[in-house]
Symmetry: C3
Subunit: 672 residues, 3 copies
């Protein structure tokens, strides 16, 4: 089911705030917290994420007082609460009594206490304890007026995905039995005859385990990933059901959606979440981190089918502490990051966390209120952001203008591509997704990053970056976009395998051979440092194929190397064109292809600006339009756009200048 759009948003206007952990501070600090939250314009905080051990200090005995006080204090100050179930951290007494709930890595090592999510989602013992505490919390606070959103656990899968404990193995066998019926169906699906791994009983099947499993059966591996995702989803649903007994407030859980391969299938999960929420952290060492952010936000919009509001649940005001070198954000970057998420569909911008902790594993993680206090640039930027979020209240409830370009991603392809013996083992799933998204991003052409089962009817251009795993039905749906006149761009490794990760024979990319009018005999990955030239003057690295052209134009061909004279990119003249990109192209090559496609299909640019100018339009139910212009460049940019900047009230038109590093959000009305 797709949740109805009737879900009430937890705040008036956009949500602004972050994780709040009063339990880490003495009572007197709470009053300062609330005072500073009001100063900063905070209207929503997440409470209780790691509080299980404090709420239930022994089994079934609850200590509610401090949390009662926190909720009352926040409510009295007009700050809404996103109340978390505390299951992200089992209490120490539970782990002592039942160490078997701790997850077991695939190499056979059981986690020790001290991390996050130290529990296996398949553990019956843990499920029983989790249900009890969630029930108790929901019963106590289900009607509390401060509580405007429920937050199930925290980043499920971030620590407890892929558990390989005995309980998980048992659950996996049940899952397989339900999916396949007979063990011979499993043998057939996985092709276990290879290496002689034929099973005669479900009880012979295990999850991938052990150091020798660098080369697992691809079908087993893929199903193990699906199972892990399903187990975690089942746990989410267990908690959600326990909450809904006591409360009508919407339920969410925070995803970790990015451009990379994920541990769970969020596109599937999103169907079960009232207000999908996401955590996104930029990577300091990523030279195009603003585009990584945009791709993540476009993917959040993709998994909500663009029609539901979503919420940026966590991002940061500076360095996290889990990267190698956690640098502060550049001046203005906090605002650019937050408003870029809003531009792409988030109805809020929350941070991890409100007040920087002084102890614990993440003691060096940045926060809204830094360790250095309020006399800081970060605090000034946070309060400025709070004012901006208030000024953007009219944007809440509007939706992002429909995109004409879709980029299709699917977890199964990510999982399958990055494991086991591959033609090129160092390729990451995010590579082509990022590369193609960037080319549109730098032309101010909006893309939806959509799941494999998305409705593609509205798109003029559909891009499949390394979509390795496709079943016959999906393959037919994707190919059909050409029949109805759209453009299809298929990159290398797409369609090569079926839903069981079995390779399609007869030439690559199996599922798309016919629609492309071209196919490959062989993969020819390039070695480290190797480059072959194309006739557009650029070079190919990492990936090439021996393409056979049957019914297509050769768009790019090799001018040297063992494939000299053969095609690297082809285009079949059907519908809006069916492109096969059979090589890992340079950014400039991809840009030229995207420019040609955008021009051929007359795909509109939101505005016309230089690379690094981000432009997205949201449209309200009343037809009002909000044009966000985020200038990531070091120089000012002038674009054809008119309206009143909600952030500073200034009027612009027919041209608008966006200063270097700044953001404008124009309510698009002609200026007199």
């Amino acid at each position: 089911m797709n949740a109805a759009p009737t879900v009430s948003w937890p705040t008036d206007g956009l949500s602004f705030g972050g994780d709040y952990s009063p339990e880490q501070w003495p009572r007197e600090v709470w009053d300062e917290d609330v005072r500073l939250m009001r100063e900063a314009g905070v209207n929503l905080v997440t409470v209780g994420v790691f509080s299980w051990g404090l709420l239930e200090r022994s089994p079934g005995e609850y200590t509610w007082g401090w949390l009662d006080d926190v909720l009352d204090l926040l409510h009295a100050n007009g700050i809404a609460v996103d109340l978390a179930t505390p299951t992200a951290a089992p209490p120490s007494w539970l782990l002592r009594a039942h160490p078997e709930v701790l997850p077991v890595d695939r190499d056979g090592t059981r986690q020790h206490p001290g991390g996050r999510l130290g529990w296996c989602p398949d553990s019956p013992v843990f499920r029983e304890h989790a249900r009890r505490i969630v029930d108790a919390v929901a019963e106590r606070y289900g009607k509390h007026p401060a509580v405007r959103l429920w937050h199930v656990s925290n980043e499920l899968g971030g620590g407890n995905a892929r558990c390989a404990c005995d309980a998980s193995v048992a659950a996996f066998r049940v899952w397989l039995r339900q999916r396949y019926g007979t063990i011979d169906a499993v043998n057939a699906a996985w092709g276990t005859a290879f290496w002689g791994h034929t099973f005669t009983d479900f009880d012979e099947v295990s999850l991938p385990r052990g150091p020798r499993n660098g080369a697992p059966n691809p079908g087993l591996f893929l199903d193990a990933e699906r199972f892990s995702s399903d187990s975690l989803l089942a746990h989410y649903q267990l908690e959600k059901a326990a909450i809904e007994v006591h409360s009508d407030v919407p339920v969410t859980t925070n995803f970790m959606v990015g451009a990379a391969s994920q541990v769970v299938d969020y596109a599937d999960w999103a169907k079960h979440v009232a207000i999908p929420a996401n955590d996104h952290y930029t990577i300091v060492d990523d030279a195009r981190r603003e585009q990584d952010l945009a791709a993540a936000a476009d993917r959040m919009r993709g998994i909500t089918a663009g029609r539901r509001p979503w919420l940026l649940m966590e991002h940061s005001t500076g360095g996290p502490s889990w990267q190698e070198r956690n640098r502060a954000k550049e001046p203005g970057e906090i605002l650019r990051n937050s408003l870029a998420h809003v531009a792409r569909g988030s109805d809020g911008a929350l941070f991890f966390q409100w007040r920087a902790s002084t102890a614990g594993a993440e003691q060096f993680h940045s926060a809204m209120l830094p360790q250095a206090g309020t006399r800081t640039r970060v605090w000034r930027e946070v309060t400025a952001l709070g004012r901006a979020m208030q000024a953007l209240a009219p944007v809440q409830g509007s939706t992002v203008e429909p995109a004409r370009v879709a980029i299709v991603v699917d977890e199964a392809s990510g999982w399958a591509m990055q494991t086991g013996l591959k033609p090129h083992r160092a390729l990451r799933y995010a590579r082509e997704l990022r590369a193609w998204h960037r080319a549109f991003f730098d032309r101010q052409v909006l893309t939806d990053v959509v799941p494999l089962d998305a409705d593609l009817d509205g798109y003029d251009v559909v891009v499949l970056p390394t979509l390795l795993i496709v079943d016959d039905t999906a393959a037919a749906r994707l190919a059909a976009v050409v029949d109805r006149g759209a453009t299809l761009v298929v990159t290398y490794l797409s369609g090569v395998a079926d839903e069981h990760a079995r390779i399609r024979t007869g030439g690559y990319p199996g599922a798309f051979r016919d629609v492309l009018g071209a196919w490959s005999e062989e993969f020819t990955p390039l070695q480290r440092g190797e480059r072959w030239s194309l006739d557009d003057g650029e070079t190919v690295t990492d990936w090439a194929e021996a393409v056979v052209v049957e019914d297509a134009e050769v768009v790019l061909a090799y001018t040297d190397g063992p494939l000299a004279g053969r095609a690297a990119v082809t285009r079949r003249a059907a519908g809006g064109g069916a492109w096969y990109v059979a090589a890992a192209l340079a950014d400039d090559s991809i840009q030229r292809l995207v420019d040609r496609i955008v021009e051929e299909r007359a795909v509109p640019r939101t505005v016309t600006g230089p690379p690094g100018l981000e432009a997205v339009r949201r449209v309200g139910r009343d037809g009002s339009a909000f044009l966000s212009l985020v200038n990531h460049r070091a120089d000012p940019v002038t674009v054809l756009a008119s309206g009143t900047d909600l952030l500073d009230g200034s009027g612009h038109g027919p041209e608008t200048v966006v200063p270097a590093g700044r953001v404008r959000v124009l309510r698009e009305e002609p200026v007199s």
Copy 2:
């Protein structure tokens, strides 16, 4: 024993084919397989390698029908069968019932099911089950007319070497007791007084285990390697004996002989194998991979003492899937690779595998019949190769012309050199072997790569590359070649330790000090990036020594660095010259030394061509000579050679032109 040369070759003419796994495909595909095999000229396929779980679906209950059909079908089509015992993959029910048969790594982790060779060769339980299935298979098919060769298991040691389970530890103690008699003899051999590890009972001894064993006792480590090799050999012999109860067909097992250090001592094993077979895969990223192939083939010839035919059991038509970037072979490379093996003594060329699998761990491994089918370059090259193999039928049964140069390799030295605390821990055993072999290879001078116990009488030049471990007897035999007038080339690290890996005192290289007339006080490995100059204009990297010259000519000396003025290479004027190469020389330095030696000793070149032209002659019992000329270069090569090219029937002489990338096999008869 050396097998008598009376073994009947499994095919008429050279063998051509590959691993065939009909159990991975529906019955209808089998007919296509056989039709295409005939089209390609296939005359030998390996069947049954991973079929245990299909043949014996529960203990002692056999399902023979499908394999009966396969053998009958092949036989009806004139295709011989190399029938494998199916022990490479224990059935799932066996691993479920007896997980203790799975090998245990030295870090203490027991393998999980899902790989290959998931069994410990010291497991009594596994041995019992293995003997039963081998007996059953041999009984059923021992007289089947299709079966022309037995193939014991698969790549023994490739997954189950160095098992450190309790059964292996117990077996190791028995092995030690047999070898040493008393525990004090073990203490003495290993020098356990160091670090206070004196044993008082055999039961205190274990195999090297645990993460702290980066610094094991060198004697213990070396004996553990010997024991592991012996255990695997004992398993081979167990299977061989079970087969021979029912069958007179020759027995083989596929080795993994290359230029690098191996997990088992193939020189020892070869004595027990009727038709030694080898698997060889080129490394895409190796710029001289054709020379790596030649070195491997020369080593196969070395361990069969050059007198017995051997068989290339596996190579590939393109990328395997276990390298980082598995590139397709270059046009013509399949033919060059196959015929280079034949030139160097293989009486056939088989591939892994016939038809590319679509599932399983190696689903991206290349095959004779690619996933893209017969409309492919690979299929065209495979069928061309099949025609070439047929044309080369006269070569079968001939032997390679005797070499005048021997390069001595020994597993003990490889094992000892690459483990534990060493003067230079990053040096690999293959380094000097490859470097010296290359210098002869690039001059078309044939080398035998022979084991330590080889008969050296026929050689004019004997090279010892980093032969670290030598007992007194071997040292005397090696030094004696100088007495009889041959040339001895000893590189650094040779003769430094005895058979228990104890260092010989009195100056390095202990065992060869006298014959060389020079010795070293100290090792002086160079740091990363460091280079010292020699008076031949080249530089030394990685390894240098402080040489004391007593009775020798200084051939090369340092011109800078801490050893400036001291010798890097010396030559004692005795016999044909006794060279000490006390440094890791550049390729050009080695080439000049080899050129000098070849000239001094008048070692004949097979032909005189540029580097990259490979030339080897085989001679039939009737005196007919077959000169293989493999041109690995990008330009044509002209050499003085005459005869009829068996591949295309063309006549040549007195000069023969070998086009770029092509192969000629001349039956050397003057052309009129």
Copy 3:
């Protein structure tokens, strides 16, 4: 307690010798050993380190004869013995009977026999056996005239630090209970509310374990390190007490003090060791290894408060074998290394080891008597060193001239800095220590490298390199040096956290904000390869901060990058100046700052020479002064200094020339 200076030195004059392992050699070699020791001038050898298994071949049954003979032989030849308790290597029978004494790594793997120190210091079983053998050895040899020093075990912690076995966990809980009293005090100290790790019972607390503990609670981690150090110290004290029942001879144990972070807190240990001893090995690949050596020696002097003699127990004549490329020392380097230690306070120079072993893990480790024997450069240099040590007899008992500069190091800061989620995870604790020490070293300005609790009254300059962990008391003591007129140099990351590793709020570097008159809002680590420019023309790498200057001069400021115009180094004009170095400076920048400080404070240089000339003065009780001049350069150096060179008797003055690579030790008396 600080040991009284009444400890009698084990030798007349300086000590010279090394580890001696006669048990590795037949009896006839012992006579040659003693003859060659006398030839070399050896007067002290360490005996018995790894002899437990030979002395006690079954529990409680002792075999003393061979050791009796060794001690008698040495004594008869006038060679003193440093007798080791043999606990570094438990006998094999003990490990067989009680495998639970073997340490367990934090990843849960129990060590296997075969390394060193294979026992947990918290094991009651091991303690019982250790006490018995130590008692027996001390009883037998406590009055033996050869024994002049006791050597407890060997490099305690080098293999058995951070044990995480169940016995250690139990002991850790006892340790915590003693330190904190209540579990809530632990919760408060560690801030366990973060990530919900609140404990309700001491039995819920464990040591950091498991692969997910890359992000342990910083307070838990720091206390675990303290506990490990305390456990090892307790073991030392157990052995010491057992010895002192039978012997009045002083007791030592060999530390592993270097410039880097250590596994135990030697500054604390040194208080319990009569003659602190150190093992130091140079790193071949360290371009300034002579300065690393100097820093280690200055730290040994720092932990003995400069008043007690210490002893260089181990160093090497060439490569050890545990580095990647173990190169021989350069000509003269042995002498330079040994005499540099003596110059900085060691009253001797011992080596690992006397005679090179031929077997065992360290068979390629260099020794005084090399494997190549006495016809070697190493032997010539060793005997020359022996003559030098004899010539330097007058130096024994003198003390190093008091330094005016102190560099403060503390293990807690090292432990905390290199673990867990940090702003910059690749920074090593030794980095700034080495960098600042080098700048003084290259100006011949002596520094004491002192522990946090050192008396700082005598110092004009106090440098705190990345002193992350400081409690309030220490912070006040350190700041107070400014009040009394000294100069304080505080680098980045200092004072950031308290004794529980909790971050001090209000701006970095929390504990030193006031004294510095400057503080930072945020850390801004630079990415790999990134460099920002300073107005001194140099660049900053790795670390920068956003400094707020309140009451300080800006000494260096950024000229580009995100901090352009902001301060990198500040100086508050109070006392002798309070410097904040808020960036990872280039060597040249640090040199200029040090030069300015040295000039401002008129800190005397021992002599005035170029970088690479090492100069240190020792002063006898009678006022005699010994000036060591070690020329690490490739050219001769001339300095203003007068006296008689004890090494060759030559007179010098008013200038002294030190030839390239040579050492002079002047008794500073005017030459007529």
